[in-house]
Symmetry: D2
């Protein structure tokens, strides 16, 4: 079955200190501020990575707490908005529909609904295209004036759910994601699952934890050296590094985790493998969960499971 | 529009010395021999990369000359075989249909037809799945007993055509590939185009040259260091390196080119960027063609344009 | 003042299981066994790294416990044996002198004495030269048949001492090492020091701990990617990784720590900087000790300070 | 014998356009301008790399032509100035002696003399120390505000001589350099030699060519990825890249060559190996000269031999 969802379009996160977080995401992480908007008295800052061609991939939303407001996935065709609205409503899911630009500047046409875990999920088509930071004719491979870490694009989001299996069923059956890897408890139930549409190990993943929680969202880096250089930049700026550069067993990817100034966990990720739609999922056992998450350490620091937003 | 073609499935190449080439592709390039087959008196060796899960991605065919026998693309669904057969025939293209295993061991159901440039093109579904070289439970990121260069997978094919525009029209209109980059002559016609289905810069590319010619086929490597280590291995084995590790302007990718023992050009490729279906193509001008192809050198060695198979 | 000591020549370590450790150091770490010798009923295995040109850089000594038997530094000239014997004896240090081959096969002329911390220290000249694993004419950059991690050479040794200042004075005044970096307690005394002769950040380092203890010895790797690949190999073989690939503040180097099968800590190290003899030492404060040791984490796991051999 | 010469201290090059070259060396190469000085109507700009602790490593000298004014090596001890003056004069070499600061701001005490190839050679001690760009307490591994390529330090100089053997004899006998590698003609005479004091493959090298010519001078980079990123920066700024990133057979090093705006060839270099004073030299044959110089290409572009300054 072809993919009606392409990839993660954006995440909107809550931040109690909008200016501090804007400074962090632009100067340390190196994203570009593309817009600001205030609706219903709530100010939001719109950001994108340098190589993304659309108006935003990260939205900071002024709020008393940190955490995830919603995640949004990009639809392949305009007709896919109707397709999913009908499919979800037929299954009894309450869906709200929004016209283009109704939800904010540069915003596409969208539907929104809650996952069984209480996460607000959006599917969208037609986000305004603003171009990446390179010319369309004879471009260099990379702008020379980037600041900070400057990842080229958003990669995936990782959330928590009390019932990982219900979450996974919803995302695979309703939203047609495919399972690439899973961590199974000794009794056979899913502790964590990794789901994709973009032929990579994951566009979204979920691990056992409180409903509605955000574990982290991740930006793509080009290689293991880039992860290292980014850690240097983080350390230089005094950013709290949660997990220094290392390797996952799940996804085979390279990673470093850290926190934004208000406590949302960020990841830089690279590596992985190509996934065909007929990919047979990989299973990790509960005994090897440590290695699944951090392949070199074989155990996971307590903070990794207990701190979320 | 969703993708009915996923990616390049395999290439079959002609080799005058089957054993010599099998030794090269298994011991230097580090592919795995999965099968042998003789039909109509012609012997073929079936090879795959270590991380590929299907029966073959490269087939060596005993023949008096070197060059490309055909290229094959993987279809998303079984029903896509019919879809493309009807679409092509409706456009007046002669299509041959083959049942699974009819064309060789592990072979999927397939249709075959000629492109306007005289290349034999196959679309296939259902290649036998044989698994990669890792266990399905708690796998390490990589087998430890790989030999030679051992790229994880096939990446793309690059051919030549007298009429690049006709070739490009056929692949975009009939096969629904999308244009990512093009090199335009001063008079505006296309000198080379880069086409994709897999959300990468190219699954197939074409440059002005003799109809039916193969310029090269490429395997994926994980990073720039891997390209360098591969060049060490090539040099150690006395393989003729056509272009030492460098960077493309087009695709932004990293590359090295070299020749198999009978003169088919191989590439190792990594890098690139994510491509959405609504990607606006990048254009390179004739003046910057050198930089487009080899970004650091700004000129292309004569051999690159004139030697093909 | 010119350097009469060039670099670390070898370390001899105690291992309760000689065959298990030989298998580990040859098959996982990828050293080459060059010799075996039994003297006074004690069997020893002699090992070297592939790019070292001398008979041994690591000696495994059958013993009931693990830990360091002695460390040995290479002298520049034959006359330096006398020079240091006289200098040490003039300072009241008891020195034993050994003829070439007296201490074992391939062994140079040597003197031995105890440091104030109770470590047995050797200075030697004339270790037998056996060549690296490459031809002397038209060599490739690296052998193609290496197994395991295969670091090119031994780099440094890191020990513990109750009185770091006395240790440092002995090594700088008697053995003419130069201080490159130091970690100072709030009261100003040295908690750890880093000392060199080879124009690198350290040939030997010492941290507060039990006299006579070995913290680790380290092999050189060529780059950060090599450290990562090594960690993959360690994890594959089930080796206990103490500290996954990360960066030091002190030395700026990249590192991973792990344990041999009997509990001696090994390190793989790369990076650092060039050191002139007039190098002004760098100081780390007690508050920043965590960052000094592990630059990204900013804190040191308890095991790092308490586990030694 | 201990090393009285430590390493290359600086090179002074002639540049017809002082401001253009200053802009190139500071903004593209990323060196730091530390001083300017005009003596005898000749203006000079003093530059250093970010991690060097002394006043200068590159001096640009206003002149009608490009090329090498002189190369200078750093002496270990103040007494080594006298040592070499006496040794050279005893051998009949005319030596000029200069007091500290006599030759320019920050300059050490120095002697100067001509090599048999007509190159002006300086030995110096006491160059003013100005510190690198990091604090002496709790330093980060790298400043965050570097611009351009920003190599940490100068590495080596490569010149041409009609009589390579006479040049090599002078540098090994008079200046006590050690031979690490040589390229021999079929008749056995030296076509090129590589000489060191710093325990690296070369501090100076020489190849057959016009007396007095400069082939290139090289800056150190930390790894192969750094060489690649530097090539991106060079290409972005339109700098003429002579040789894109590749590997040497001699030295095993990684390299890229390019030209400053007035035609002096620059190199970025990394890799190599540790050299003990008792290192047995490596020999390359005339047949393998291509591979010796560019290990992957096996042949050297004409420009490499014929263009110099």
């Amino acid at each position: 079955m072809s993919d009606r969802i392409l990839r993660l379009q954006h995440v909107e996160i809550r931040v109690p200190d909008l200016e501090l977080c804007t400074a962090y995401y632009t100067e340390v992480l190196g994203l570009i501020e593309t817009d600001r908007d205030t609706r219903d008295g709530v100010e939001r800052v719109f950001l994108k990575c340098w190589d993304e061609r659309e108006h935003h991939s990260l939205i900071l939303r002024e709020a008393p707490t940190h955490g995830l407001d919603h995640m949004s996935f990009k639809l392949t065709d305009a007709s896919d908005v109707n397709y999913f609205q009908q499919k979800l409503e037929a299954a009894g899911v309450a869906v709200k529909r929004y016209a283009a630009r109704e939800l904010g500047p540069g915003w596409g046409e969208a539907i929104r609904f809650d996952s069984p875990s209480g996460h607000l999920v959006e599917l969208t088509h037609g986000t305004e295209r603003v171009g990446n930071m390179l010319p369309m004719t004879n471009p260099p491979p990379r702008p020379q004036d980037l600041v900070g870490i400057a990842p080229p694009r958003l990669d995936h989001v990782f959330v928590m759910a009390e019932d990982v299996e219900a979450f996974t069923r919803f995302f695979t059956e309703m939203l047609e994601f495919r399972l690439t890897e899973q961590i199974l408890a000794n009794d056979g139930h899913q502790l964590a699952t990794f789901l994709e549409h973009s032929h990579t190990p994951h566009d979204i993943a979920v691990i056992t934890g409180p409903n509605g929680a955000l574990h982290h969202f991740a930006f793509w880096m080009d290689d293991w050296n880039g992860i290292r250089d980014a850690a240097d930049t983080l350390a230089y700026h005094g950013v709290t590094i949660d997990v220094a550069p290392t390797r996952h067993g799940v996804t085979r990817g390279y990673t470093t985790y850290f926190f934004d100034p208000v406590g949302n966990r960020n990841e830089l990720f690279t590596g992985g493998y190509w996934v065909d739609p007929d990919f047979e999922p990989i299973t990790w056992t509960e005994e090897e969960m440590g290695r699944a998450i951090f392949y070199y350490h074989r155990q996971v620091n307590e903070r990794f499971f207990t701190v979320h937003s």
